[in-house]
Amino acid sequence: MNLFERLQKLDRRWIFLVVAVAIILPLIFPFNSKTYTTDPTEKLYRLIDSYAPGPHEKAIEKDKAVLMVFTHDASTMPELFPMEVAILRHCFERKIKVFTMTFIPSAAPIMDYAINTVKEEFPEIKSGEHYVNFGYKIGALALPIVLGMGEDIAEAVDIDAEGRKVSSLPIMKNVKNYNEMNLIMDFSGSSAGGMWITYARSKYGANVGVGVTAVMAADEYPYLQTGQITGMLAGLKGAAEYEKLVDVFASNPDPAKREFSRELLKDPKWDDAITNQNIQYKFKQARIGMNAQSVAHIMIIVFILIGNIGYFITKYKQKQQG
């Protein structure tokens, strides 16, 4: 039995072990790898950034806001949670009004966890003033709420997760419906974003963005092509891209460099983010994960090549032997 024949009959548990090692090593010994940003991520970043109050404008007066909808449970957290953290960080850093909501019971604690993870770095950010967590709303009420928010958010949602009357919150100043809460960002491992496209975009013209698991990304591209989705974060890669954009612009130590520019993005100094001790682990989690992802992908490609070479060699030998 030659090497390729042995590989054909290899116990798959050895492959599991090799993949596990290929993932664990880059996580324990992280290295700097480049994160290239793509158009769907940049579009989303630029739209959210355009909601930031101007230098002489009070955050509370701003008439634009983002709604983040958490449509997932813990099973898809590795891909979606870093996206949520990155967008919340962007909003808190730039004082952009942000609302959070879910129609899934098990997403409620994830929502709290995401907000608290980011908020502990921004002591000046206050609930009810800079952000509001609408909390869990039952799935049966999803449609009335989605349509109702097109007319009056405070009436459709009524109370937030802390039991406060939404209409009485300072953040609601100059925010009434989708004209102001103009971007709905849905995070899911399914086609849940379709509901927002169908009702909030078609009927009220709201912008819709999606943060999806990589499995769902291919299904969302047609909507991206027609512009029904403004931007998309696809899997861990999308999260890593958004993390980088927040580092380069929104969190840039130089306030003069916080506007999006391609020149700044090309600066190689931003490629050391993974080993840079000044950036907290929770704000570069997706980029560290992408290191392991790259190594694992190379391993899988090698396995596929070896498997196919072995298959063709074995087939050729069998043919030779008649």
Partner: protein, 199 residues
Amino acid sequence: MFEIVSNWVAAFLTLCIFSFLYKDNPFYRFAEYLFVGVTAGYTIPLTWEQAFIPYVYRPLFLQHKFVLLIPAIIGILYIFTFNRKLNWLSRFPIAFGMGIVGMGVPLSMHASVLVQMHGAMIPIENINTLLVFIGTVTILLYFYFSKAHTGTYGKVVKIGIWYMMIGFGASFGYTVMARISLLIGRIQFLVADVLHIIK
């Protein structure tokens, strides 16, 4: 202290699930059953707290909005689905639900069909739009089954098959990425949150 204990419990359960990669075993099954039980146990009180109390109990018994009795009774009819003689009653709330689905049909047609069709009818100005045009036409022709896929027609249809194969390849690539990401997430939890090897 709570965080340390909860992290170790989560780490133990993660390893229980991973143990299935070696072979099926009692640790894996324990973690699986526990997950199902915890999910159900979490959902029931949350629905009571977030749905029944604010949308039924409070408006009905405290604010005396008796009109809510009508949807509440219609909703209760669902329970007759378990009774052979009276299960016809459960069709009323189902019919009501179907009516709500019907409300979305015109908007769904707009978003999923008309706008998407419009997106495929743009002028061929560059290589991308040309590729979209060829792909759309050849794939649609593949799904036209009233003509045999032979001769010149068969060759055109084959281009559609290639487009679909590339699409499936892209989907598969994304799926591999997603599954690896889930593994990365768990290992990041183990090495960062539990063992504190990376910070």
